[in-house]
Amino acid sequence: MDNPSDLKLTPLTDEHKRLGAKLAPFGGWLMPIQYEGIIAEHNWTRKEASVFDICHMGEFVIRGNADKTLFNRIVTFDLNKIPEKACRYGFILNDAGGVIDDLIVYRIAPEEWMIVTNAATIGGDEANFRKHLAKGTDFRNISAATGKLDLQGPKSLEVMKKVAGQGVAGLGYYTFGHFNVLGERVIISRTGYTGELGYEIYISSAKVVELWRLLLSAARVKPAGLGARDTLRLEMCYPLYGQDMTARTTPFEAGLGRFVDMGKDFVGREALVKGRSDEKLICFKALSRRSPRHNYRIISGGKDIGVVTSGSFSPSLLCGIGMGYAAADCPAGTNITLKENEVEIPAVVTDKPFYKGGTAKIPEGVNAGS
């Protein structure tokens, strides 16, 4: 497997190689795509628990008052409404209302925040924060020093209790706490990108290999790669930044208006008030095992109405699934065709999510998040 020098490596690269992973570039990083196989890893995550190397993602810290630092003007939700020890999902937008990135903000203390962003956007996000934050704001990029592992699957709580103590059981969906793990004070949040009960663990990059091995030593835990992460998130209709959402699409077009608080001021708000296009992100299921792919056209009633942004085979539904932007109104049940050259895949528009058996919000616990 080639390893071009311009790709960044996570601290776990040697671990992945030892496990026989297929490695490939993703967002400027050399990442594990699969170990045993995407479908096996996908199904294991839905039934048991999998650990994912997510060290490539970005983490930032801001200290200060949400309004005085102007941080509250950068995100689409009201930071003051986040309870301490809770997380919130939302966006940073450009002046045109397009999505610069989607992110999760952790309220660590009344005036301390951790921001988690996508990997490919770290540089742009940092520049954007520095541009909009009040001069002199305590703002740091802690991405390189931070290791991140996601443990996801219905059995993940059992494993987390052994690693971090019984206190983990008290975490409600979209909340977090500080726990003592491997002699370090780490952040563990009940969040994820799979639709299953799961946790995201933030530890120093110096300790992340040790934590990886510790999690994998549990009988129920297997490693899973970005291939399974993609099929798991697509079955939940979670958008992928750069693919289903870009600087040219707004949160409303992406069907994620509930993460935008129009009652507050933020960069991009004016554009959202003025213009709302008719384009909408729709989800569709193929009538066969054939998978729609990125950039296939969406045809309805003989008319080209849009483009596929994500598509894959669904290991849970055993058919092709996907999402894309359509200009015309396409309620659930609408028959469409996904087309590229001579490939024509009959499909039907469906409600979100594709997979309805996800355990992410079970047990309920305290739901302080989205």
Binding site: M1, K22, G37, I39, R290, S291, F313, V343
Partner: protein, 128 residues
């Protein structure tokens, strides 16, 4: 990686097993391993005419759709109908249960354009 001795191979990782004028075709162990979990196979239909090195089938994995090219020209005598319900046969048994089709060859001389097992093994080793 398995490369049966008696088969012939293409640069695009198809194999062909020849018995008189009858050729059984499929994709190699290297190809299935490279593609990962196969989720759908569009095999050529019985009666269709295929041309050497021209597209004759499509194979889809979780991540991508790939074209499959005919290793020899001829008429499709039989397609492997089992691959519709069981595309995973291509992963599990690429040279037997996972074959794509049987072709009545129209030009036996075309085999000169194909690689023997030893040659194909060397070719694959040069790719990684």
């Amino acid at each position: 990686m398995q490369v049966p001795d008696k088969f012939l191979y293409t640069k695009e990782h198809e194999w062909v097993s020849i018995n008189g004028r009858t050729a059984t075709i499929g994709i190699t162990d290297y190809a299935q391993g490279h593609l990962g979990d196969i989720t759908f196979v569009d095999v050529p239909k019985a009666g269709a005419v295929v041309t050497q090195f021209k597209r004759c089938a499509t194979v889809e994995s979780v991540k991508a759709a790939s074209d499959v090219y005919a290793p020899v020209s001829g008429k499709v005598a039989k397609a492997n109908a089992e691959l519709a319900p069981h595309p995973e046969y291509v992963n599990q048994s690429p040279y037997e249960k996972g074959y794509f089709a049987v072709i009545e060859m129209s030009d036996e001389k075309e085999t000169a354009n194909l690689m023997k097992a030893a040659e194909y093994k060397k070719y694959v080793e040069g790719l990684t």
